[in-house]
Amino acid sequence: MTQTSQANTGEPLASGGDWRSTVDDGLKDIASDWGSDKDAFKDVPWGKAMMWIFLVSDTFIFTCFLTGYMTVRMSTTVPWPIPSEVFALTIAGNHIPLVLIAIMTFILITSSGTMAMAVNFGYRRDRNKTAILMLATALFGMSFVGMQAFEWTKLIVEEGVRPWGNPMGAAQFGSTFFMITGFHGLHVSIGVIYLLTVAYKVWRGHYEDTDYEIVEIAGLYWHFVDLVWVFIFAFFYLW
């Protein structure tokens, strides 16, 4: 079996040659990975492969929640509360729909950007910049959770939304909202702790004898949290 030598060159696969040879090389690559008595994904650090597999399982959990939400929303005969109205805020006398959710979205995207750069500086072995960027990411994450706490408080105290009912319409609104955003907020909170731990260890030089793929693995988790928010934002808040 010929061993393809085009492992991880840092180039997007599509940029080398036409698509046919890309697919061909890829299939040979799969055959050599899975057709031998060695580890599959052998040029991938094991931690990264494991994080990806965990994220796939998490994808299934979040999709089950969102599918459950879809089912109850489709099957209720009571009108669904309009998210645009429910999540509107009045700022300086202006009634702005969904404004807090939009800010939360931008904050999470910004934190993904700083995380991507932290991964980059990690591979350049620039410990200080990596740790500072990860700290910034964690701070954005904390502000996200803070805003979510504000949103929950407003919804529970002022709007009277409960998991079993609300004054605006279908009772299932509260249960799906608290379950989905609560589970996502839990992920963000865990991510903040995770990032702070890794940032501290990077700063202390714990990973000096590694290739700093640990930062990329932490980054994968964080980007996934952002990714889930993209779907929640689309299906729960905008739909």
Binding site: T67, S112, A116, A234
Partner: protein, 104 residues
């Protein structure tokens, strides 16, 4: 193994994707702000959502530079979820019709 083996890409690429995600998020927010309704709304929401998700996975999570073996192992299994979504959509519609018939 030398550390240059890892994922190294120019910072500018991340900044471009970051700006792109900002623009896409603004556009999906505008779908609500400008009060688009019906199929136009749903299409735009899904298009912007898939574009954002695609850029996050491909660039920020470095999926476009991974080996095809890993890409297939990670990206193909979630497609099974489409079956679940399809079946639950049928179930939801059915329950709605039954409720409308007996309680409506």
């Amino acid at each position: 193994m030398e550390h240059a083996e890892g994922q190294q890409h120019p910072i500018g690429l991340y900044l471009k994707i970051w700006i792109l995600l900002f623009v896409l998020s603004t556009m999906s927010y505008l779908v609500d702000y400008l009060n688009f309704q019906g199929y136009l709304r749903w299409t735009l929401i899904i298009v912007f959502m898939l574009l954002k998700a695609g850029f996050i996975v491909a660039i920020f999570m470095h999926m476009s530079w991974e080996k095809l073996a890993l890409k297939c192992a990670i990206l193909l299994p979630p497609l099974a979820l489409l079956v679940l979504i399809g079946m639950m959509a049928i179930e939801g519609e059915f329950t709605f019709l039954i409720r409308a018939l007996f309680f409506g």
